[in-house]
């Protein structure tokens, strides 16, 4: 069995106004990877290269052991793909789409499809034209899930969904992971979704990967230290400080490689450590992007 489902090595793609630069990451089988980036960062371009829809200029892409884009036809039998701009036939019904997909993919699971219809509150006789945005997203997801693909690739699956629908979708994605042979890669700018269900996280900004790690390490590495300095104390300096905010006597240090020894080091330099705050993935992402863009990284 291949334990890596997706591998990018040195992948680049040049456009007149945008360059995807040296993208490299690995996604182990049985886990979820969340791809986070601002709009226009290169998330969709990366996903399209993964799917063989765009051909990279340089670098190697392996998906489920197959080389992309050369072996994309074979790879796609095992990949379920849902993207925001995917069009279903407006005049056709949900049920028509289900039969159509079933006729192409032999592993289609009709009883799973039926239970998804119920959980997503969709009816086979509904025409796509009459569906809301959220219902269309759920219909597209149903068509991908019921094929029982080994890899699910989802470009912004929760964008534009109401909170109830979002939790339903996240719940279904987690249910897929009950089978440890299945793998999910999804992109989002909703860091809350990514923080909730992802095992691996990749931050992308302006066409480059700016940080990648497993989620627990990410959350462990980043901390905010709230200090109180006395009049004559100097601001403690050590490597790994990505930002200094707050006021002169009440500085707030942000670090991306927190270690407990930092607290005692601050105290030795005459500062009182008032609090050590954990950070949400959103705060980490914003701090990360700002420090890279501003070149403030020590």
């Amino acid at each position: 069995m291949n334990s890596i489902s997706v591998r990018f090595e040195g992948v680049s793609k040049h456009y007149p106004h945008f360059t995807l630069d040296n993208i490299g990451f690995e996604l182990p089988t049985g886990s979820i990877l969340g791809f986070i980036g601002p709009n226009g960062a290169g998330k969709s371009t990366t996903i399209r290269i993964l799917m063989g829809l765009i051909h990279q200029d340089q670098g190697a892409v392996h998906v489920l052991g197959r080389s992309m884009p050369a072996e994309q036809a074979a790879a796609k039998m095992d990949i379920g793909f849902v993207s925001e701009d995917m069009r279903l036939y407006a005049a056709a019904t949900v049920g028509w789409h289900m039969e159509f997909i079933q006729s192409i993919y032999p592993r289609w699971d009709q009883s799973y499809a039926a239970s998804l219809l119920q959980r997503f509150d969709l009816k086979p006789q509904q025409r796509i034209r009459g569906l809301s945005h959220g219902q269309r997203v759920k219909a597209a997801l149903l068509l991908a899930l019921a094929r029982r693909p080994r890899l699910l690739v989802l470009d912004e699956p929760t964008t534009g969904l109401d909170p109830v629908a979002r939790q339903e979708v996240l719940g279904e994605l987690m249910a897929v992971l009950a089978d440890e042979e299945r793998t999910i890669l999804f992109s989002s700018h909703n860091t809350l979704d990514v923080e909730q269900i992802s095992d691996q996280i990749v931050f992308i900004d302006r066409g480059r990967i700016i940080d990648a790690d497993d989620k627990e390490s990410f959350l462990d590495r980043w901390r905010r230290l709230r200090l109180v300095l006395s009049q004559d104390a100097v601001l403690p300096r050590f490597s790994g400080i990505v930002d200094v905010a707050g006021s002169g006597l009440l500085p707030v240090l942000t670090t991306n490689c927190f270690e407990p020894r930092m607290i005692s080091e601050c105290q030795e330099m005459g500062a009182t450590v008032q609090a050590v705050d954990t950070m949400t993935l959103e705060e980490i992402f914003v701090a990360n992007v700002q420090s890279r863009r501003g070149g403030k990284l020590v």
Binding site: G30, S31, I32, Q167, L170, G171, M174, A175, L177, A178, E180, L192, Q196, I197, S198, D199, D214, K215, E216, L219, Q274, T278
Partner: protein, 130 residues
């Protein structure tokens, strides 16, 4: 075993700590009895809709603390250690006392003031239960 842990997103603590604490409480009150089989990492992750890696981390730490044991191929279960519940409370108490001491320092309380306030709180609790 049904896992009805409830994870809060507005709770400032990391999710793995919340999972650990709730499992410890289940064990402490005896809902999850000694030697009982507990959900697998993947089962609990799916039920809670949180990352496998987060639940894995919670289980690893619980194992390290001796609350649960994991056997290869057989899954995880509550440790058969008979002193489990007092030890869990002992640790929680230590954490809360540290926290109280820290807040006291922030408020500029003297050590004597802090101890007398703890004493008053304990006496009040005893009175309420009589």
């Amino acid at each position: 075993m049904h896992s009805d842990l409830v994870i809060s997103q507005s709770d400032g603590r990391p999710m793995y700590l919340q999972i650990m604490e709730q499992i410890k409480q289940r064990v402490a009150v005896g809902e999850w009895a000694r030697g009982d089989e507990i959900p697998s990492i993947r089962q609990l992750a799916v039920a809670l809709r949180v990352s496998v890696i987060t639940v894995k981390r919670a289980y690893l730490e619980l194992e390290r603390e001796g609350v649960i044991v994991t056997q290869h191929g057989k899954g995880s279960m509550v440790a058969p250690d008979p002193d489990l519940s007092p030890r869990l409370y002992e640790q929680e108490l230590a954490e809360h006392i540290d926290q109280a001491a820290r807040l006291g320092t922030l408020l500029g309380l003297r050590t004597e003031e802090l101890t007398s306030r703890l004493k008053r709180a304990a006496q009040r609790l005893i009175k309420e239960h009589v």
